[in-house]
Amino acid sequence: MAETITGKIKRKYMAHFIDAAAPGATTPNYVRLGDDLEEFNVEMNANVETKRNILGNSMTTIDGYEPQASVEPYYAVVGDPLHARLQKIADERLTLDDLKTTVVEVHLWEEDGAGKFVAYKEDAIIEVVSYGGDTTGYQIPFNLHHVGNRVKGVFDVATRTFTQNTTSGTGK
């Protein structure tokens, strides 16, 4: 990327990709999320436990996260591989492993080689919430449940490929 990013980071530089390939496909097909989304948040849903001892002191621990993100609205576009994936889930009422995918979060402000950026990949489950919508277009809003196996690597924006770092990783 030619542009050097400094100061306050624009929202578009935190990029979210989802693998739209069918389960069992040999190569992922990463599609960027964000079209028509005025807001997109990955809710961390931390598992917080707070205890108070007999001295009156409280102790708070966080022993895990159940991250979740909502993609709404999602307007179906003919030819979009993500639409094909979501439509199949809705049409065939897919469950279990057929809902598995991976998501990649790319830090476009952290370049790591030409056209490559620091990224984190994580397994996820697609939950189609509904399908239909109003007269603005056919919509298939869905939730993404992050389920772990989070690894650090680099993402090539041009080829849309993720390469895991061999020396580091972050497990859930």
Binding site: M1, R11, K12, G34, D35, D36, L37
Partner: protein
């Protein structure tokens, strides 16, 4: 094509207009019927997604100078505005729009045309039987793709 040029062209291409006159002026109307003037009144950001793509709206007022000798004329004039409203709603076919922001040329497409307040606006010679001006407010919504990343 810029949004102003595009909307002007859509109006010119409308058979209702082209059957009367093949011309639509910008910010100008003559006093004699039949004449059309398209007046852009500003552009606004409707929403922006997290990729930087924008939905924008450009507002216009179309002034039309018609004759108005009797009720028959005035009914025809109002019917013209009504028919033009219907036409504009169906005229959107993802036409391409070009936007220049800070010397960057961005591309987009027209997404919606709507209109409101089609009505008699004023008299030309102080009498209703002379040429009269009608107005129709037009709203053109368009989607602009963010460049690159």
């Amino acid at each position: 094509m810029k949004i102003i040029e595009l909307v002007k062209q859509i109006i010119i291409d409308c058979p209702l207009v082209s059957n009367l006159t093949g011309e639509v002026n910008i910010d100008f109307t003559e006093d004699k019927p039949v004449c059309f003037g398209l007046y852009p009144t500003g552009d606004q950001l409707i929403k922006e997604d997290i990729l930087g793509n924008q939905d924008r709206q450009h507002n216009f007022v179309l002034y039309a100078v018609f004759q108005s000798f009797n009720d028959y004329d005035r009914l025809a004039n109002s019917t013209f505005l009504l028919d033009l409203t219907y036409y504009l709603e169906k005229a959107v076919k993802d036409q391409e729009v070009e936007v220049t922001i800070d010397n960057h040329i961005l591309h987009g497409k027209l997404t919606k045309l709507s209109s409101a307040n089609g009505m008699l606006y004023g008299y030309q010679e102080g009498t209703l039987t002379g040429p009269v001006t009608y107005q129709l407010q037009i709203y053109a919504q368009y989607h602009v793709e963010s460049e690159g990343l």
